[in-house]
Symmetry: C2
Subunit: 343 residues, 2 copies
């Protein structure tokens, strides 16, 4: 039986859901992949940092219990995430630290530290994929390790894994979709007659609107996702700065009403394509027919459409995800790495 | 460099598109998979049957040219598809003979002949998957070979490969969708005010309505696809006879108009689920909200939604496929088999 040790950087909702999933699937991982998966380190800013003593890994059930009771781990090794990436013992680094959408740091540095040591890296943080994918991918290739990021767009819903594993020999020529929940929800609520402020408040109450929603409202989150999609699927080598970006700030109740009278909805559309080999990306509010696919993406659901040379166009939808779907994406990437070790 | 030899049973539009794709991708298969793919036999009822002489495989460009010119191959070895499956030299049998939706034969016998010889089998024929999947899958497992069938539901759009390759450890608990083009198109046209006969005629003109459309209109095609989905994804071990099936015969212009007045569309919905572990399948016309995902599946597009334990619900859409998408599904299955040989 093989043993795979994970170091988790960050342990918020997604990290905790992933730890629960690992605990649940421990026996099945052993029986189907002949692999014992251990967590050898967890680094956080505010809950403490844990390093496993000996070869058994951290006791996930116990530390989840501690967290629930006190909001902190029962001890703290006093290491930073970067120190853990650089020094701890692990086989796969799992980057789950908070996103800085305007730089991708410090996650990029964490990932580089892991890759430079010849460790596999999984990131659920879209920053590094939007800002530095090509460099990180090349570093991973140099070191002969994997750098996987399924969760960065549409949580665990297969997008990157879909193209890599099920569309062999296909070139992706265009991506499009609805990728930002906050703006999609607000536009939908405004169409139903609520004010922008009411919609924002309702989104906050339901837990998916950030304390500071400006990165969502201004289209930065969507632009980062377009950059991530284009970098991974089209080798675009671009950053969110190169995406033609417009938020929903200018979309008034009147504009929505007037579009509605013509059978149209306003959606924040995302699109990336190649023109004479040059990558172009765009995010902005656009009118779509109410009987179109884009128009029916509601609630917290998302859509990615992929145009390919060999398989025409296909679309993947995620329906109202919970945090468990984020955890699943990390788990799926981990499974990919474990399976590749078998070869 | 490895060599993989294919025997094609049937050589209609899908087989010919597959042959063109193979020719186009020949060099790339060699450079990326270190594998030369040859066609060592093609069996047809009406165009003749060809067996390759020597080790070079059939010249696909030449025989496609012959077909275009005369509708037949330039020679005929006089063998049946079953004889080719039983006797020809090949590594992968590709079953593309015409569908018998009420029995799955003779495709089931062809596939058994290949599997019994320890050969991999790819089928684009949904009959065997709807009627005999469990038996064929078990036979393949006994012989240590692959039995793949991506193309049988939504052409090359990843459904079976999606679940197998990108949803590790997930249990599928429900499948649903819109899977029959003929009925979907007719219902859409009737909603737009055309008569049933006009819609049928237009579908024929556009090439996707069969000479005898009764298997589509009565829901048999959809029932076979539900059975196939449930057999592959949920190990249901059922046949189309066990699907609660209703066609669109009873759907009148008045019913559609009356539903439309209430903001509803009528769609032929497909659904398969487990109830206390027992598989249930259903096909029939149902009302859906015009602002729902089901309602916007139009033209010749299709939809499969998959409910899982770990990844929640996701959906995959195929947008107005052409025959090249069928060819791609066969090609993707072939690639899977070639890659597994590498291990």
């Amino acid at each position: 039986m093989k043993t795979i040790r994970l170091a988790l950087l960050g342990f918020g909702n997604a990290g905790q859901a992933f730890a629960r999933l690992l605990t649940e699937k421990q026996e099945e991982l052993i029986s189907t992949l002949d692999t014992r998966v251990l967590v050898s380190a967890i680094a956080t800013n505010r809950k403490g940092t844990l390093l496993a003593e000996g070869q058994e890994g951290l006791n996930l059930s116990n530390l989840l219990h501690d967290l629930k009771k006190t909001g902190r781990f029962s001890r703290d090794e006093g290491k930073t995430a970067l120190q853990v990436a650089e020094d701890a013992e692990y086989d796969i680094l799992v980057e789950l630290t908070p996103l800085d959408i305007f730089s991708g740091e410090p996650a990029i540095s964490h990932i580089k530290a892991g890759l430079n040591r010849g460790k596999h890296v999984i990131t659920a943080n879209k920053g590094p994929v939007a800002w530095a994918y090509r460099e990180l991918k090349e570093l991973a290739a140099d070191k002969g390790v994997d750098f996987l990021c399924e969760t960065t767009v549409m949580d665990g819903t297969p997008v990157f894994n879909l193209v890599r594993e099920t569309l062999p020999f296909c070139r992706v020529t265009e991506v499009s979709g609805i990728l930002n929940t906050t703006t999609n929800f607000i536009l939908e609520e405004m169409e139903a007659g609520r004010s922008f402020e009411e919609a924002l408040e309702e989104g906050r109450r339901r837990g998916f609107v950030e304390a500071d929603p400006s990165a969502d409202l201004d289209g930065w989150d969507a632009a980062a996702k377009v950059a991530a999609l284009m970098n991974v699927l089209m080798d675009a080598g671009i950053t969110p700065l190169q995406i033609d970006r417009k938020g929903i700030g200018g979309v008034t109740a009147e504009i929505i009403k007037e579009a509605g009278d013509r059978g149209k909805s306003i959606k924040l559309l995302c699109r990336g394509w190649l023109e004479d080999g040059i990558p172009h990306g765009k995010v902005g509010p656009e009118e779509v027919d109410r009987k179109s696919l884009m128009a029916v993406i509601d609630g917290t659901s998302s859509l990615v459409s992929i145009q390919t040379d060999l398989m025409g166009k296909l679309s993947v939808l995620e329906h109202n995800p919970e945090i468990e779907q984020t955890a699943f994406g990390i788990f799926a990437d981990m499974t990919t790495i474990v399976k590749r070790q078998e070869k």
